[in-house]
Subunit: 143 residues, 4 copies
């Protein structure tokens, strides 16, 4: 089952406002990232994993290595969008959060993004994903 | 000569502030995008090509199709960064703006990004890059 | 009946995220403004008054003359906040939107802000609030 | 000598971009705040006073109590603006940072803002401005 067929782990629904679209009513390409950050941080928080506490609680934390975003369909001012979060590929020390942007009015997929994170030691060197966190990631990937 | 060896077309230098870094002093991954938008828009403006006037002046305009960003080195609060713009690959109807983030203190490349734009008709369908704009892009790519 | 005893005209509820708080977990003072803009724009939109169409539809539009904000109680990372919109004072050519920030967990008022707008002619000179819009404002103030 | 006649303590000059102006090319009212935060934080940093270290170094820190902003003249897309910082009134436990926004092309004052901060104990209760910091504030106010 591809990740896109599973229900989202978490989502936010919001209406695009002036500050998120340009004079032609087109989405600024940076808009999704702030929104993605917010959905992901809230999901982690609700799962009991505040990112600002990982280092102290577990001796590892996570940093973002790469992001990618595709703008598939033009969206504009006042469109209502649902931003969905899922877990994608899980590798040795890296793992991927996948985001899909759906226009609520017609269910059309208007954008798609991924954020690749790496688990790192307190001083920032990549480490194997710790066993317990890997289990969480795998559970999220099956949910 | 690779694009990275040419001088930048335009750049902004700025110091990362609280709103751009997280509680661990790590850059928010969305931070670069707002900055990239600003460097690119100012460059186009200084070249006489306001993006909000393209449609009326020339009968075509440009939309962003994809973005990619790599975070190579952790940067943090109060680091001074130079964000450089260059033109990358030029295809049939798509072209790439390349961005490099350099830590001013030591000249280290800390991040790298690309924005893929497409020239479109007034109603938003991809069109071949118009000849005159292609010449501008090629001139920028050689500059 | 003071404006604070009336139900809100519109509100958004959201959880403060990393990008909205500083390294001490304290709210950035600019955070509320983006959120206020979003609540107000959506309210106007839902009332059939897109701000970007006022000039063409009615021959007047509105600009912001002043803003004020008080930070009453420290809020921080992951606090859930309800941002409420009401109409305040209505003068000759100016009128006030009032915002209240309530911490959802305990109903405490944590912040308060106002935005003073002015109705202007197409070229930006203040004009008396047009009769029909004044009626809308007064209806909102009683709602 | 009024504060406005003294040279600025610090300033940033920048060109307003799409993300800072609305579809009518008018400044978003929240735009100045992010910029003010950045000028003030950099000033404090250059003076050896990182706000995120105050609590640990000195046993006090500062929080924002109120902000005010007036939009005097409409500015728009691609206007170049100089944002100037000065120290204003110094009271018992509160002090004011004053900001002025100048349009570079003609030197016109287009906006004006103030941020009122309070010195607080580590647990966030207002305290008298500590003597050494008061001396810094007074020196800044004379500079």
């Amino acid at each position: 089952m591809s990740s896109e067929e599973r229900p989202a782990l978490h989502s936010h629904t919001f209406r695009l406002s002036y500050g998120e679209t340009d004079p032609a009513g087109i989405l600024y390409y940076g808009t999704w990232f702030r929104r993605m950050e917010s959905v992901l941080s809230e999901f982690m928080y609700l799962e009991g994993l505040r990112q600002d506490e990982l280092k102290d609680r577990f001796g590892w934390w996570m940093v973002t290595r790469a992001t990618e975003c595709e703008y598939l369909i033009a969206v504009g001012l006042f469109d209502e969008i649902r931003l969905e979060l899922r877990v994608g590929e899980i590798r040795t020390s890296a793992f991927v959060f996948e985001f899909r942007m759906i226009r609520v009015a017609d269910g059309v997929l208007v954008g798609r993004a991924s954020v690749t994170d790496v688990t790192v030691s307190p001083d920032g060197h990549p480490v194997r994903i710790p066993v317990e966190f890997r289990e969480r990631l795998e559970e999220w990937a099956r949910r």
